[in-house]
Symmetry: C2
Subunit: 165 residues, 2 copies
DNA sequence: CAGAAGTTCATGCAAATGCATGAAACTACC
DNA sequence: GGTAGTTTCATGCATTTGCATGAACTTCTG
């Protein structure tokens, strides 16, 4: 058991992620969206432009009710639309509109440039590849007693509630 | 310019952080606190148990008003207390109470064990050290036109607003 | 020292979030 | 086929968040 190396590694990872995310947000990478909204568009694009709500939720950083309402907002903004899943009257399919897809691509390109200029400044290509490899291992579902259905994980940062305090 | 390696590296980092954070929260690492509340206690402990609000904010994942109200709540729960900074009537010093310090240590120990058991399962010690090194480089303030006063960064994930949509 | 400018924290308010729950649709079992 | 149970999404509600702003205090300038 190496708390000696594990805890500092986690803390550095955590801080690096926060630091970079703040940097990207301050640089307006996601404008005119919030990062969470971009996350929805990005995930949808990755799913071919459309997906069922229930399949989307586990990849996003928010609860099911939050996604439901965010989809309301984004739909009324015209970047995506809701459809009833055929074959299942309960299911809702969320799909990018043309405008939404174009917006995602535009923001995505800008964000990728921003990422590169930031990472290239401090890591060599080899280091970037190594970082990716290590981070990928961290998501290995092989472990822990709980996970099993994790595959293309994505985002979040939630919370809990009391008990004593 | 290596978007080829930079973007995947950032995405892997991002997902690894989210994945692990979710894991720790689902494992109730921070109970009876939320992760943000623990972040406050942890940061305070690291500052020797007390710090001024304005010095705390940049290390935390929340806005100044949010910290102000969270301190209200934590103070009324008895884990910390507010004092007026002497020499500056505007300043507020936030300090851990004995209970707060004990709580932080207890939760912290549990969290460190949780981190170790998770990371040790997928990374060797050498890999953990290397991950830490790479993540530390990512926080190098040497770069970007904006940062300059960053030192012991910490947490966040914010948002922006529209403009077009 | 007086007034302007800056700093630090708190508060009003609208928006977003999560939890608990509800409604609608589908599935399983008798 | 009908009813119980499950799945999927939406909604009520309390909480939390951030932004804009205000109040109290300090510092700077002449």
């Amino acid at each position: 058991m190496s708390a000696r190396t594990a805890a500092p590694a986690w803390e550095a990872l955590f801080r690096a992620q926060v630091h970079l995310m703040r940097h990207f947000e301050e640089a307006k990478d996601f404008a005119p969206l919030t990062s969470r909204e971009y996350d929805v568009l990005f995930t949808l694009a990755r799913c071919g432009g459309a997906a069922r709500m229930r399949d989307l939720v586990p990849h996003l950083l928010m609860s099911q009710p939050s996604l439901s309402r965010m989809v309301d907002r984004l739909a009324s903004d015209g970047v995506l639309e809701r459809r009833i899943a055929d074959g299942d009257g309960r299911g809702v399919i969320v799909a990018l509109t043309d405008r939404g897809a174009e917006l995602q691509r535009r923001v995505g390109r800008r964000h990728v440039r921003s990422i590169s200029s930031r990472l290239d400044a401090v890591l060599t290509e080899d280091e970037q590849v190594e970082l990716r490899r290590l981070c990928a291992k961290l998501q290995d579902p092989e472990t822990g007693p709980d996970d099993a259905r994790h595959a293309g994980e994505t985002r979040r940062a939630g919370s809990q509630k009391e008990e004593e305090r």
